[in-house]
């Protein structure tokens, strides 16, 4: 869309809006404002409060990047927005109460911090190792921000944020999702779509559909492998005997989804080997999700997208050592 870009660049407010929408798109590597808008619709479809917090996050982190006079082309590509958007969404998901102004203020501050951490992580990963920062800054900011609620009184935790030792695990998908009519196949489809939505904390199938549409307007291969990754994640979860309630709500799917999209659709030149590699990476991310969930559970923390980040970085590190894969040059991906 060169004409839209040109128009946007002439009007500062339009440019800023465009940067923020691309920021939301960049959660799934889609440097495209329309993708961002569709993903945002998906988030609002799940919960308007979640949508507002995500918006506040992307605005705060993008504005911080302007304030610090960071590289303009990177700001315009949404690269200082996606971590902030996720920080906002995460705080609205794991802290209470909804629509609280002080919680929104907390999200503004935390999202701004994500821009600082993005610079630091890029200094290491991009500059030294030619690897993308992925959503690592989001994880590094959100985890301490959630932990703060355990040592202070002014932050209120949602029931999702509780220190627990693993109890009995119910592996039956259908029964776990109470009050849901329909077939087992329908439940599986829901789980896959919720898995897509969970990347932005949107736990409704409609969000998954809107996100996949958002990806489709940007890249067909990207959308395809996001879907494939969510399926792979769900299958690995069922194969390992993961909790059915979690599986139904898409928690086994979202890490695999982004991993498959990143490997097969974004950072490596597409061919059948890359496709296989994306599936493998999705499975590895999901396995790591199971591991990190066990590590973080007793600490009262969610695994967020740390499994995806760590597994994908390991898989991308191979691009220089193995002649089997060809990497898309990083600047070409990110701009």
């Amino acid at each position: 869309m060169p004409r839209w870009s040109e128009r946007a660049d002439r009007a500062p407010l339009l440019a800023f809006t465009d940067s923020c929408l691309r920021g939301i798109g960049q959660i799934l590597f889609a440097n495209n404002p329309l993708s961002g808008l569709l993903i945002l619709c998906g988030i609002f479809a799940a919960s308007p409060w979640l949508g507002v917090a995500t918006l506040v996050g992307v605005v705060s982190s993008t504005a911080t990047a302007h304030l610090l006079a960071l590289d303009r082309s990177r700001i315009r590509a949404g690269l200082y927005g996606y971590n902030g958007a996720l920080v906002g969404g995460a705080l609205a998901t794991f802290l209470l109460p909804a629509w609280s102004p002080s919680l929104l203020l907390y999200a503004v501050v935390a999202s701004a911090m994500s821009t600082f951490v993005m610079v630091a992580v890029s200094l290491v990963l991009v500059d030294q190792f030619h690897l993308p920062p992925l959503t690592l800054p989001f994880n590094l900011v959100t985890l301490p921000c959630l932990l703060v609620s355990f040592t202070t009184t002014h932050l209120q935790r949602s029931p999702m944020l509780v220190r627990h030792v693993e109890g009995p695990i119910n592996t039956v998908l259908r029964e776990s999702a109470s009050g849901v009519a329909g077939s087992q196949a329908g439940a599986l489809l829901e789980a896959v779509l919720r898995g897509v939505g969970q990347i932005v904390f949107a736990d409704v199938p409609l969000a998954g559909v809107l996100i996949l549409l958002g990806l489709l307007v940007w890249s067909r291969i990207g959308a395809l492998f996001a879907l494939v990754g969510s399926v792979v994640g769900l299958l690995v979860g069922m194969l390992l005997g993961g909790d059915g309630h979690d599986a139904y709500h898409g928690l086994w799917g979202y890490n695999g989804m982004v991993a498959a999209e990143a490997l097969a659709g974004v950072f490596l030149v597409w061919d059948w080997r890359t496709a296989l590699y994306g599936v493998t990476g999705a499975a590895a991310s999901t396995g790591l999700y199971a591991g990190l969930a066990a590590l973080f559970g007793p600490l009262g923390l969610p695994a967020l997208t740390l499994p995806f980040c760590l597994a994908t970085l390991v898989f991308l590190a191979l691009k220089n050592a193995s002649p089997v894969f060809r990497a898309v040059p990083l600047p070409k991906v990110t701009s």
Copy 2:
């Protein structure tokens, strides 16, 4: 003080003493023997046993650097002393009994290790990223050394080193500090001064005063921002609703103190933006303190200065990416 330096360099024992005093000063970036002496007085004012352990630590780590024939100018600047000094102080604070010879021996060994870790951390941070090692080696050595007490019988833990899940938090500053007369304003002032003292485990207001004096003879801006940082830390702690007993004893202040000093007074060229940046960094360090305290509590560990190290490294990483700040070249800071 060129004349003192010259005289010191001619007499090996005097030079070693000078290196050790600078090492104590370097805990707060003050490459100045008089600063080190005043800080040491502050530590002794809090507890003679703490003072002896700190001295033993700085001597052991500095001597180890000589033994390994490390860079002489760095040894003379106290850069192989400050981590050892802190290791000694930490072990005397968190392990028992006081004046135990075997504990002192443990401090000698652990402080010597801090020199090895300093070399390794510098290899990564200084050589690759042009970032200062800060007190990271102190944290990396002390945390395992404290953990050892949980799996062995010959080390005795102080009541401060106990695995706990967060209980109710009392946010009223005055009432928490039992047996203290005086006004709320007096309690706040005490909390700020204890916050300065806590950087060397000295939990008395007099230590804070002596440390600020020590900084004053070296740099007025450094002293000012150490004070400002402790205030900011206390305010953030009260804003978040942190525990009043901890706040009174300065535990919310010391990370903010060093962070503000490092950013506004040491590593960046001073102007109003740097000043604001120092305040922001102090707030971020304190927020991270709250988060890490929640992570470490169930493990039975103190957060030490890890919050300051991590937050400050992130904030310093910005110096190359943003034109807003000008960095003082690292060799100029550290010598």
Copy 3:
């Protein structure tokens, strides 16, 4: 053995067997198929199931390296085998039941992953810092793979893998090892030999003897310092007051063993200072073992060889900063 190497290179299957045996040897830096064979005999002497799982691991990770077309000379040197061998052995040790086909499949997948992680770790350690990856990939793969058992139902944990808070510690070596006749000296000797065996999870003295023989055919200094390291580890454990049952079963010895061998026998040019350095490194690794065991115990995880890896990397980082030691060039060590 140039003639054996030449013959092996002409026959693909023989070459692959040779690579795998060297892979087992490389667990202890011995790039020698006969060493690998003797170590493998030691593992089988402890438990045939452990032996099969180790074999499956080394075959899977070496085959994965071929599949990814990684550097052939590194594959032939066994460098893509040793982590996989350890992953296989670890899963057979900490998961149940023995001889389970699905557990063996899990080992195949996990060991294959170790090759990916080896590439990523080498990108950082070897390429950037000229430091060896040691057995870090094994730790980074095994820990999440064991954690998965806490959030899923299809993996069964052995009694060794349980979340525990430290209880009373029995420091008497002899009494702890129930049902063992003989003298205190005999128990100490057993503990030292089991310490050697524990590096491959082989908890019988005969395994220690076979491993030392395997090292002897490759390097006398290597074998000597492996023995010395196990002794140092046991002594440090007793000095700190570690658990006698663990000490008898070699758990205090294996990290010290590899550390001493690595520092005095592999990566530094041998002289009396290096020998002293190896002993110091063995002591530091063992201290770190005590610390990490306390950190990992409540999480239900074993410390594996993480203490050895971290301590040895710190000690090797010194090679550029201190003129006291001369390093063997890394390519010369690893091929």
